[in-house]
């Protein structure tokens, strides 16, 4: 059983992070920005798991614990974020981020 080297996992993680970042800053819809943020969070989780698996002391389970808590935090974040999107949509009839400019002077 030969695994790919650690750097390949890190490359995949960097790719996913960049894709999520590009989506988060380039798209207009609030929901798509949330999906991009989720992709970035997942890339960080993949880094944690890869470093845990390839690390010197995998018995400590540190990376696994960190990812479990991170998934829980991400669930809370998505729930509140989508509730905010729905509340704004109810008031403004749009989810476009550039339409939400009430605070602009």
């Amino acid at each position: 059983m030969m695994n790919p080297p650690l750097s390949h996992y890190l490359l995949l993680s960097a790719l996913l992070f960049s894709i999520g970042f590009a989506g988060a800053v380039a798209r207009r819809g609030a929901i798509l920005v949330l999906i991009g943020i989720e992709l970035m969070l997942n890339a960080a989780n993949l880094n944690f798991i890869a470093f845990w698996r390839f690390g010197a002391n995998p018995q400590a389970l540190t990376g696994v614990m960190f990812v479990l808590f991170s998934i829980a935090i991400a669930a809370a974040e998505v729930a509140v974020g989508l509730a905010l999107v729905i509340a704004i949509y109810r008031q403004r009839k749009t989810t476009r981020l550039d339409a939400m400019d009430s605070l602009k002077g």
Partner: protein, 188 residues
């Protein structure tokens, strides 16, 4: 060998789904592609011998978050019907340029570092029992805090999303928006 092939297949699938999730025009397609990317990541966790995290990812991301996103897309539909609406923000070229720079800045150290090229040590086989013991002993305080946080997020999401439409009388509201609000209230 088999492990390597499966990893590269899964990695290609995940990256393709992530790109599709960020680049497609219809929001529903984006949400489904994101769910596929999350599922591919869960399979990569399984391939990395982190079974519990893999199944937790499947349950939480593919099972809950993707469904939540699809529901939000369905609840906020209507703006997609507007013709001629551009999907990307006006400064999307600079955003993508910054993302490419970020990718280059991440790739250069990863490819240059010799200490990242070694293979994996023998599989540690973390049993779910070990994870449960750790959660109940060493990580019991973070576990309780996550419980509090999830409860607060649940209550907050309900409070935010179910706010009465009539109590937010902002000065900038036009009559059309007020009519839309009352129509919404009747629909509820």
């Amino acid at each position: 060998m088999l492990n390597e092939i499966s990893f590269y297949l899964l990695a290609a699938l995940t990256v393709a789904c992530a790109v599709a999730a960020m680049a497609l025009r219809r929001l529903v397609h984006c949400a489904l592609c994101a769910a596929a990317a999350f599922a591919g990541l869960a399979l990569i966790y399984l391939q990395l011998d982190a079974e519990f995290v893999g199944f937790a990812q499947l349950l939480v991301y593919v099972g809950a978050i993707a469904i939540l996103i699809v529901f939000a897309v369905l609840l906020t539909r209507g703006e997609e019907a507007a013709p001629g609406g551009r999907q990307s923000s006006p400064s999307w070229i600079s955003g993508v340029g910054i993302a490419v720079l970020l990718l280059a800045g991440l790739l250069l150290p990863i490819l240059a570092s010799p200490s990242l090229q070694h293979g994996a040590p023998p599989a540690p086989v973390p049993s779910v029992k070990r994870i449960g013991e750790e959660l109940m002993t060493r990580y019991v305080l973070p576990l309780e805090m996550v419980g509090v946080l999830l409860t607060a997020a649940l209550l907050g999401a309900v409070v935010i999303a179910l706010r009465e439409p009539s109590d937010g009388n902002l000065p900038g509201n036009s009559p059309a928006q007020q009519r839309a609000k009352t129509g919404e209230a009747m629909n509820l």
